[in-house]
């Protein structure tokens, strides 16, 4: 039996039960990566030592209790993996092995996952494309197009079936943008749910998982958050404390053994107030009409599932766009501040230069962010539990050397392609993207679901209902 292409939940269950060894699972995934990655370019580094690490997992005395037993995972190359350099998509970063795992990587490994490789991203994760000094990541649905970014390789690796789950992070949409572009799921948690990266862009950035099914996404999120009550939250849109407790070997100190429930035919019904905004962007920013139609379709699916659905007629405030761009550029300047400018790409230099100029003029977006975060988002959002919007503004642009291009082309292409995600970093609210349709271009369409703080269970529950009605589709050639 081939294990590449199976879900993390299926793999972990089989490894726990002894139906397959972690070693076999990892070897098969490494083989698939060797076949597929030359044309996708998702990985900056593939880790052959993953086989030995899988053997070590297989020998763990707590193997039968590990939620991610033997599950291959790809990690974005801006999160520390012990013994590996963290290059951040840049030739200018130090080629020095990290002394220890980032907390999120450590949690994945404690849960039984095996890191099979580090995924490529645009330099310092500054943009929504997938090219860096380590190559161009290509979209498995159409390799002439970008997979989006900045968790570019992580999304492409999951979409191409090279790993069932991956780890990335999102400071202006960097999980949701590539996930939507590649037809997979991703969730940006709210603040203080998952340990953030070391450079978290002044709390804009959260780490989070990518997956092909909501149950995999919820399980991985629960491991990253060290919160077992999220693992089954997709079933009914609420936290569920697994009984007996999951993750006993990692976080609990009792002797009970956790076993996942068999998946039901469909998620349980629950009732939320769901708003939908097919065109939420400030005046002047266009939105693809098919993406708008997908939002209406998602709303209708959730109405049929029993939710109270209302149209959200307001567009995001005009001041939020400039504030978001100013925040992005000033954070880019800070990220690039310690780099030797001769070693970074033309685009990084240009974005940082603009960010420094804006910061000097005190146009760094701080006041706009405070206003949006303190009360603006709450007022605009209204009394809904969850809001549905498109995840992207257009289908992905060409996969190209965007890093060698200048300021204007990069900023315009970014804003046009990915205008719908940054608002929710500006206020720190959780958001998820769910693939539900296929665009006439042949590329996938994702819809974004947003909730006020603490709403991750609602997002997972609604995503499960959407995915149940509109199951995931794999790109041709990557089954």
């Amino acid at each position: 039996m081939l294990w590449a292409g199976r879900t993390a939940t299926e793999i972990a269950t089989a490894v726990r039960h002894g139906d397959v060894s972690a070693t076999t699972v990892v070897e098969e995934h490494l083989h698939v990566i060797s076949e597929r990655d030359p044309e996708v370019g998702a990985f900056r580094r593939v880790r052959e030592q993953a086989v030995e690490e899988a053997q070590a997992v297989q020998k763990r005395p707590d193997l039968a209790e590990l939620p991610l037993a033997g599950v291959p995972v790809a990690v974005k190359d801006n999160l520390e993996v012990a013994g590996e350099a963290t290059r951040g998509g840049s030739a200018g970063t130090a080629d020095v092995p990290a002394p220890a795992d980032h907390a999120t990587v450590a949690r994945l490994r404690a849960a039984g996952a095996v890191v099979v490789g580090l995924t490529n991203l645009p330099e310092l994760g500054l943009v929504a494309f997938g090219d860096s000094a380590y190559g161009i990541v290509r979209n498995p649905w159409d390799r002439t197009r970008t997979p989006g970014g900045s968790s570019s390789g992580s999304a492409a690796a999951v979409a191409a079936g090279m790993v069932p789950i991956a780890l990335g992070n999102d400071g202006m949409g960097s999980l949701r943008i590539p996930a939507a572009a590649c037809g997979v799921l991703a969730v940006k948690p709210g603040a203080d749910v998952v340990p953030p990266p070391a450079d978290d862009w002044n709390r804009l950035t959260e780490n989070g998982p990518l997956a092909t099914t909501v149950s995999d996404l919820a399980l991985t999120l629960s491991v990253l958050a060290a919160d077992p009550s999220l693992a089954e939250a997709w079933r009914g849109g609420r936290r569920v404390d697994p009984r007996p407790p999951m993750l006993r070997s990692v976080w609990a100190d009792d002797d009970e053994v956790w076993e996942p429930q068999p998946p039901p035919d469909s998620p349980e019904p629950f009732d939320l107030r769901v708003a939908y905004a097919p065109q939420p962007l400030p005046i002047g920013l266009p939105m693809d009409k098919e993406f708008q139609a997908a939002v209406r379709a998602a709303a209708e699916t959730l109405r049929v599932a029993g939710h109270t659905v209302v149209e959200h007629g307001h567009r995001l405030p005009a001041w939020l766009g400039p504030a978001t761009i100013a925040t992005w550029l000033s954070q880019a300047a800070m990220s690039a501040a310690e780099m030797d400018r001769r070693t970074v790409e033309r685009r990084t230099r240009a974005l940082a230069r603009a960010g420094r100029a804006l910061t000097r003029m005190k146009l760094d977006g701080v006041r706009g962010r405070e206003r949006w975060s303190a009360y603006g988002a709450d007022q605009w959002f209204g009394d809904a539990d969850v809001l549905i919007t498109p995840s992207l503004g257009t289908v992905p642009p060409r996969a190209d050397r965007w890093g060698e291009r200048g300021f204007l082309r990069n900023v315009l292409a970014n804003v046009r392609f990915a205008p719908a995600t940054g608002a929710w970093n500006m206020c720190g609210w959780p958001a998820i993207t769910v693939p539900i349709a296929t665009h006439t271009s042949g590329l996938p369409i994702g819809v974004q679901l947003i909730a006020p703080p603490g709403g991750e269970p609602h997002l997972l529950g609604l995503a499960a209902q959407l995915q149940s009605a509109h199951p995931p589709v794999r790109p041709r050639g990557y089954h």
Binding site: Y276, P286, D288, K289, E290, A293, A294, R296, A297, A299, E300, T301, R303, V304, V309, E311, G393, T394, V395, P397, R416, P435, I436, A437, T438, H439, T440, I445, S468, A469, H470, P471, P472, V473
Partner: protein, 70 residues
């Protein structure tokens, strides 16, 4: 530029797998429109939000945005 292209694309929705009412015999006439316009009702029942996608003359049924089929 992509947007300009997208603006010209016809939009319609296929069955959702929920057994929702979908026009059974292809595009139904859109009342009040010219005879060469048609529409697929995503749903018309239950006071729902509905998606009435206007289809242009020369619409090609192969040229659809597709919801992932259940």
């Amino acid at each position: 530029m992509l947007l300009a292209a997208a603006d010209d694309l016809p939009i319609a929705v296929q069955t959702t797998g929920h057994g929702l009412p979908v026009a059974p015999h292809g595009p139904a006439p859109l009342s009040g429109s010219s005879p060469d316009a048609g529409a697929i009702s995503y749903t018309l029942g239950g006071g729902g939000i509905g998606l009435l996608a206007e289809l242009k003359a020369g619409w090609d049924p192969r040229n659809l945005f597709r919801l992932n089929p259940a």
